[in-house]
Symmetry: C2
Subunit: 121 residues, 2 copies
């Protein structure tokens, strides 16, 4: 396994779809995924794991059942396991997700925004 | 457990020591740590885990036994478990480390640059 630097901006330049995370690196059984968000995602939760969002460019929000959190570039938020959340972005936002291998973006909520899992970029 | 945004730049502004990673968030049993690097670190390895470096500002290098890799802001590198490496930075570099809870910065190499573990900022 080679240790090669991954330029996140370059990776994101090759990603055109919104709400379609792509794996760029693995750390043990965790994955780093880049994603572009725009518009409204669906309410969902991940029963088995926390999920980290690090905003690389732009800004986004995460709606929880009791409040809404804003996230700007350079800000990190960890959504605890089992907590319902709904990401959204008024304009395109570039994000790094960190979570265990195998996490599905819509949790068990499903729907048309469910992305194929484990797609590399 | 609250899900609060963590501003990495603000966290780093409060960190004055070099080579002294501070935990800013946890993701399951993994930790996000901010650190400032300047000068030469020691050769070491982590036998039990991969280790991720994401450069937030500045640039750094990681020397391996067979080559040296440069890392600039916005670049991510995962050092595989068991691989000897030596980070360095000609001038101050701000880094986000991601690794399991309990990883000691100098591995088993020890020495004066060994930082207290699990210190939060």
């Amino acid at each position: 396994m080679a240790a090669e630097p991954i330029n996140l901006r370059e990776k994101l330049a090759g990603l055109l779809e919104h709400w379609s995370p792509r794996v760029v690196a693995e750390l043990n059984d965790y994955q780093f995924k880049v994603a572009k968000f725009e518009g409204d995602f669906v309410w969902h939760e991940h029963a088995e794991t926390d999920e980290a969002f690090l905003v690389l460019e732009g800004s986004m929000g995460i709606e929880f059942r009791d409040r809404t959190v804003r996230l700007n570039a350079g800000e990190l938020l960890v959504v605890p396991r089992g907590v319902e959340h709904r990401p959204f972005a008024e304009s395109e936002c570039q994000v790094l997700l960190i979570e265990p291998r195998g996490v599905v973006n819509t949790g068990r909520s499903g729907g048309e925004l469910t992305a194929d899992n484990d797609r590399w970029l």
